[in-house]
């Protein structure tokens, strides 16, 4: 099974994967060739370029109540990497979107991506010591325009207890959603 940890650059994805994984987090690399857009484009040039994108990988193996290998994929949240997410999100049971309140706008792409694909997700607000202002879950929910049923929780990605709570909250929510598909506003395609 598979859970995606998504979030903007520096939001704490690697840290969260490392806090719960039974192996040291690994870095999986992939070459991506794409027509560049936005910031990459050179005016008047139809540029195609190969970039490398890195994903964090971790896993947890369960033997009881049944054998399950849970794979954790930490994925870059930048808009221009969205096309890499299709393989990542394929077959994902859910996603933890790590929101960095210093750059909340980085979370928008992830929220709309998983909403569009009806993949259950929770938003974990990573608490950074140097954040100028601590946002409440309610403030983050409003800013990201999340429906009431989407779980939003505060999270310290460095702390195993806090990181695993985010996973448990997600799986619990995914389980509820699978029994009551209308909570996800439509069935999974």
């Amino acid at each position: 099974m598979k859970i995606v940890i998504a979030g903007g650059f520096g939001a704490g994805k690697t840290t969260l994967v490392g806090a719960v994984s039974e192996i040291d987090p690994l870095t999986t690399e992939e070459y991506l060739t794409s027509a560049s857009s936005g910031t990459d484009s050179l005016a008047g040039v139809e540029a195609k370029r190969t970039t490398t994108v890195s994903m964090d990988f971790g896993r947890i193996t369960f033997t009881t109540p049944r054998h399950i290998v849970l794979m954790l994929f930490g994925t870059p949240g930048q808009e221009r990497f969205r096309f890499t997410w299709d393989d990542l999100s394929h077959g994902a049971s859910g996603a933890v979107i790590l929101a960095d309140t210093r750059r909340l706008q980085d979370s928008f792409a992830a929220v709309s991506y998983f909403e569009d694909r009806h993949v259950p997700f929770v938003v974990a607000v990573n608490e950074f010591d140097d954040a100028p202002h601590r946002y409440s879950c309610q403030e983050v929910r409003q800013a990201l325009e999340l429906p009431e049923e989407t779980p939003v929780l505060l999270c310290d990605a460095r702390d195993t207890r806090s990181a695993s709570t985010a996973l448990i909250t997600l799986v619990s929510y995914a389980l509820t959603s699978s029994r009551h598909p209308q909570t996800l506003q439509g069935a999974r395609p």
Binding site: M1, K2, V20, L26, T27, T28, E29, E30, Y31, T50, T52, M55, F57, R59, I60, F62, T64, P65, R66, I68, V69, L70, M71, F73, D87, L88, H90, G91, A92, S93, P120, T160, R161, S164, T165, L167, I168, V171, S172, A174, L175, S177, S178, R179, R188
Partner: protein, 131 residues
């Protein structure tokens, strides 16, 4: 001279991205498509019969999935090769009969309530301190 000064002298001629791009596809004899359909989360496992005479990367891949199935993502990370290159290497090993592609891993339904419930129980046991 320090290492970083040495690196500066070596400079862009060897350190640029293009130079790095060469080797992975040399490993695949220039092929860019795996013969077997695999995803990041697809699992492969080594067959019991030992294969000899494999290339070092192939040897490492087979050794890694000797005891239990491993995902494409993990094998790629351990081999330090891009995912696509890893898929091509694994495809060859499947054709050679050194590895078997696990079909169950790709057939898993991600929103199967029974699986999610088992996962939830497993997580709560693993992390009993959590709320």
């Amino acid at each position: 001279m320090t290492d970083s000064e040495m690196a500066d002298l070596d400079g862009p001629a060897w350190a640029d991205d293009d130079a790095e791009d060469v080797r992975p596809y040399a490993l695949t004899n220039g092929r860019t498509e795996p013969r077997h359909q695999m995803r990041l989360a697809s699992m492969v496992v080594a067959r019991h019969e030992a294969k000899t005479g494999l290339a070092p990367e192939a040897e490492s891949a087979v050794a890694l999935c000797r005891s239990e199935p491993r995902s494409v993502a993990e094998i790629a990370a351990v081999l330090a090769q891009p995912v696509l290159v890893t898929k091509i290497l694994l495809s060859d090993l499947i054709d050679d009969g050194a590895l078997i592609l696990s079909l169950t891993s790709d057939a898993t339904c991600p929103d199967d309530p029974n699986l999610l419930e088992a996962l939830l129980v497993g997580l709560r046991r693993r992390f009993p301190d959590c709320g």
